[in-house]
């Protein structure tokens, strides 16, 4: 497998110290290639959120190594100075709830990321609208988030996660609030986008409806990951 995508080796995370220390992640090994969508499944308390937070560079792991593309971002310590810029440029986030910014319209919700990265407003909006087109929500480009249906909101959230063309997307239960048809639609979109933008996508989920769609699944139990071939054939 190529060195692109995201590569995690021996990642550990311990909360606290001494008697009260909790080892949330004991040994996490994952490799997700560009264009690939993998599932991350585990019972409650197994360490899924801790892993997402480490990957999302909002908490610091205790040990191990993480590489995005060719860049080592963590090797027993952060190897990048500006974690904020790392999150903005290298990692897309999609949450269980869309968490759109209520005072920005659909276009600007998506265009905000390139703007934050310093891109001119017009270019950022053009890029956002193009992405909204490929997600079939461009007809709501001028709407406010509160005027959208749940499915539309989630597609806008996906567009926001994708807009800076990050090599990695972390999706935290992205289909939880959706019915089965819409949930499958979202997964289809994620697969399409992964292929189109060469993105490595990790989908944390409990959702029985979508588990069968993954070609590859990581199980996590007590902070340890196990790889398993999924039954899904994806959406080729």
């Amino acid at each position: 497998m190529s060195s692109k995508g995201i590569h995690i080796e021996g990642l550990r995370k311990r909360y606290g110290s001494g008697d009260t220390a909790v080892d949330a992640l004991k040994k996490v090994d994952m490799l997700v290639a560009p264009g690939e969508v993998v599932g991350l499944i585990g019972p409650s308390g197994s360490g899924k959120s801790s892993l997402l937070k480490c990957l999302g560079a909002v908490i610091e792991p205790t040990a191990g190594r993480m590489t995005i593309g060719d860049e080592v971002i963590y090797s027993n310590a952060w190897k990048v100075r500006d974690l904020r810029a790392l999150r903005r440029d290298k990692i897309g986030f999609i949450f269980q709830a869309p968490y759109l910014i209520p005072f920005l319209d659909v276009t600007d919700n998506v265009a905000l990321l390139p703007m934050l990265a310093g891109k001119p407003n017009a270019d950022s909006r053009k890029q956002a609208v193009k992405l909204l087109q490929s997600l079939d929500v461009d007809h709501r480009a001028k709407a406010m988030p509160s005027q959208l249906s749940g499915g539309e909101q989630q597609r806008v959230a996906i567009a926001r996660g994708l807009v800076n063309r990050p090599p990695v997307i972390l999706a935290d239960e992205p289909t939880a609030p959706l019915d089965s048809e819409r949930a499958l639609a979202v997964i289809r979109i994620l697969n399409d986008m992964a292929r189109k933008f060469e993105t490595a996508i990790i989908v944390v989920t409990h959702d029985e409806k979508i588990i069968p769609t993954f070609k590859r699944i990581y199980h996590i139990r007590d902070g340890v990951t196990y790889e398993e071939a999924g039954e899904g054939r994806g959406f080729e």
Binding site: K53, R84, F93, L116
Partner: protein, 401 residues
């Protein structure tokens, strides 16, 4: 980059305008309070300016004639006029009283001025209508704020006066309009007894064998006449010769006349430092209280608005928004709120409060500028709590448990 604060304000403009207007009313009251203070100072200065005097000669060891009662003999002016450096002198009386105008009462300061020509100290320096007092009795010049018109008849004690002239901005240090009347009338009004008292005094005088002497005809009448005239005034207004030093002239009058003399700057100090000192302290207290209330309102609103956005702030941080941008978002909203409040406040103070307020409200542009700076500073300071809360938000919260 777009203005996040601007977008948020547009999205929740109702909330902003509503609180902005509320804050604005408070700011309006604050600006008006400052205006009232300025008005009081200005009233005091107008009183001194309009008196046309360089020196005020008053009863020894009093703060008269405005801040304390002062009474001196009305023939002292001759001696003062002969002092070196003195150009003109004039007797004057001041009496704050209700003056009847038809059905209603007007609170005024009745000023008795000596006969003379325009420019005599104590005379109204200019008129807006009519003429100056020319007869020595029963004519009056009134400040228009009193509500009198030319030809009106006004009643002071038992006498009625015809308004022959109108003037403007002639007010007492308390802001009451001044009514000028001839000095003799004013002296009478100040010390006039009622009929019963006069009768009683006559009877008592007549029954006193020292005064009622058949072998000295006319003595009783002379005594009674002297009892019913009042030869006191409140102050002598002095104009000094051009080029003379006011302090020097004042000092020589003090030395030779056993009277207290105040210069213009000493008088100003008495009016502003003593007479309106309590009022200005009250106003200062109100200004402090209103500033604290405004700050509390801004802090509360901005804090509430920020708490309502905690999740969005976590998301913004997670997707790589700089702290600076988030601080800017909150601070700009606080400043916007302050700006709305200031505009509403300025309009309220100028169009609503100043015209209807019973006291002279002087809105100085510099006070507005100071007020604006103070409002912005209060808003920025008040947003600190909200900023602190926003900066504490952990981007990990967006990911959840």
């Amino acid at each position: 980059m777009i203005s996040l604060a601007g977008r948020d304000i547009m999205h929740a403009w109702g909330k902003f305008v509503f609180t902005g207007v509320g804050l604005g009313l408070l700011i309006g009251v604050t600006l008006s309070m400052a205006g009232i203070y300025r008005g009081m100072v200005d009233d005091g200065k107008a009183l001194l300016d309009n008196s046309g005097a360089d020196l005020w000669v008053v009863q020894k060891d009093t703060l008269g004639p405005y801040a304390e009662p002062s009474s001196i003999y009305d023939d002292g002016w001759r001696g003062i006029r002969s002092m070196p450096g003195v150009a003109r002198t004039a007797n004057v009386t001041y009496l704050t009283m209700q003056v009847r105008h038809g059905e209603r009462d007007v609170r005024t300061m009745v000023t008795g001025v000596t006969a003379g020509g325009p420019g005599t100290p104590g005379w109204p320096p200019y008129l807006v209508a009519g003429r100056q007092i020319t007869r020595s009795h029963y004519e009056a010049v009134a400040d228009i704020a009193s509500g009198f018109k030319l030809g009106d008849c006004l009643q002071i004690r038992r006498n009625s006066y015809t308004v022959v002239g109108l003037t403007r901005r002639m007010v007492s240090s308390g802001g009451d309009p001044i009514i000028f009347i001839p000095l003799k009338d004013a002296q009478e009004a100040q010390f006039l007894k009622d009929n019963d008292a006069i009768r009683q005094q006559r009877r008592r005088t007549a029954s006193n064998p020292a005064f009622n002497r058949p072998q000295v005809p006319g003595l009783l009448d002379a005594v009674i006449a002297s009892q019913s005239t009042n030869s006191y005034i409140n102050a002598v207004l002095v104009q000094i010769e051009a080029g003379r030093d006011a302090d020097e002239v004042a000092e020589s009058i003090r030395r030779w006349k056993r009277l207290t003399v105040y210069t213009r700057s000493q008088m100003e100090e008495i009016l502003i430092g003593k007479l309106i000192a309590t009022s200005s302290k009250q106003i200062a207290m109100f200004l402090v209280i209103l500033s604290i209330v405004s700050a509390a309102i801004v802090a509360f609103i901005i804090y509430t608005l920020t708490l309502g956005k905690i999740r969005e702030i976590a998301v913004l941080k997670l997707i790589g928004t700089k702290n600076r941008t988030i601080v800017g978002l909150i601070m700009q909203q606080a400043i916007a709120l302050g700006a709305i409040g200031f505009v509403v406040g300025k309009i309220t103070a100028t169009l609503l409060m100043a015209p209807i307020f019973p006291k002279y409200v002087l809105l100085e542009p510099l006070d507005s500028v100071r007020g604006f700076v103070a409002v912005l500073m209060i808003c920025v300071l008040s947003s600190i709590i909200a900023i602190h809360a926003a900066l504490k938000v952990d981007p990990a919260e967006a990911i959840g448990g």
